[in-house]
Symmetry: C2
Subunit: 286 residues, 2 copies
Amino acid sequence: MHDLIIIGSGPAGVSAALTAHARDLGFLWFGHADLSAKIEKAERIRNYPGLPDVTGQEMKESFLGQIEGIGLTLMPGQVTAIYPMGNYYAVSLGQEIHEARAILLATGMETSKAVPGETELLGKGVSYCATCDGFLYKQKNIAVACTSPKFEPEIEYLADIASQVTVFAAYKGCSIHRENTSVIQGYPTKVSGEGRVQAISHQGQEIPVEGVFFLKDSISPAVLLNGLQMEGAHIQVDRMQRTNLKGCFAAGDCTGRPYQYAKAVGEGNVALHSILEYLSSIQEAP
Amino acid sequence: MHDLIIIGSGPAGVSAALTAHARDLGFLWFGHADLSAKIEKAERIRNYPGLPDVTGQEMKESFLGQIEGIGLTLMPGQVTAIYPMGNYYAVSLGQEIHEARAILLATGMETSKAVPGETELLGKGVSYCATCDGFLYKQKNIAVACTSPKFEPEIEYLADIASQVTVFAAYKGCSIHRENTSVIQGYPTKVSGEGRVQAISHQGQEIPVEGVFFLKDSISPAVLLNGLQMEGAHIQVDRMQRTNLKGCFAAGDCTGRPYQYAKAVGEGNVALHSILEYLSSIQEAP
């Protein structure tokens, strides 16, 4: 059992991880080897104290150098679900499960919103994880909604199992060419079904399927963690970065505007201090 | 009339000023040429993203270089009072007055608390400004409570005017040696008087005086700005860094723990974005 799992490697995650390390906390940290797609793409950052007029690429390299310099381990992998277990959390990355007393959501702002039916039918034909749930669809007719070519190996894996795969590619140049796959350029608009997935819609057309995989970089925190209080698309937090769930904290773009590096760095730091306080409070309890 | 006055040059003030500059805001910025005594004294900062394992001195130099690089003007001077004027604020630095539609308090955490009677008798014999109020004490018997040798020129000035000056030096090696001054090592414990200052206390002894000057780096924000809502020693703010007073925002250590550079930088950024929103809202009003 770890003290903390940090989910996300944008500026909020980096700030929290540096502080967790400075305070000798036992923690796991999941994110992207490139830290954050958003940082990398930033053209020029003019208002971050300490890094004058840097490109996103330069900021990324500065953060990566600092992390490597102190030997911090950022584990790649996408968290597909989080389960509140009473006084701890179980964090699932596909079939891998990790446990911690506290979690920090620093997941950024999701760029692809859930489509109607996606959240409602999650676990009832909707899945975010080919590795975990693919085997359920042996010889079945499924759809995959995919936001990036980096998920194509997962589509190939699903095509090995399912009888028919309709791929929705929300990017250009999808390279999936299999006998049992058909590629539609675009993103589905709806998942439907009573109690279980029965069809997926695109441009007014309904395609009957038994399962739908959404392969995307960011999953809405409310979908990841059932019961998490949101305010629109953002996680509701107080000034100490506490969410409505005990032991669950959030920082960075996922908590709301302004979507700024300095704001995210500040919130990651504050969250970590609140987590230290929380961990000490539960250790004191009988 | 300026859009904004930023008071304080620690990390919160720096972050806000960089963002104000990036957003082309018309603002004045008051603080210390050395940014912040606290930064300068920090031995080593291990958890600020972008500046790996720096000394406080190195962080200060990095921030100063960035400020100078974009031609930002940090004006030295101590704000001695702030007056809410309805839809703008008047900020007084001694006898100098500046006006702005919004103010940002980034004044850090005061290290010397107000002594009993200090706040109550402010303007009734208690003053923070030798230049502004010294002339009121011609040929009178006064006391000066002083936290740093850098204020000694002000004590000399007061000694030129007053008949008798009792100096409380809260530091070693006070160099004031005048016929009409007596130096007590330590800090007063109380100012007393009915309606006006009548005496100052130290170690159980009451010394009759007609005026008391407190010369110190940081004045409690609640004393600077009457009506500002505090929570203990901190300024009460919401997640947007708004105080209870319209057009008045606060960021950094003055808003509470954790006293961290990253937290201050984040709050300075968030405050500036709230200020932009506020300024645009008052411009839209008829």
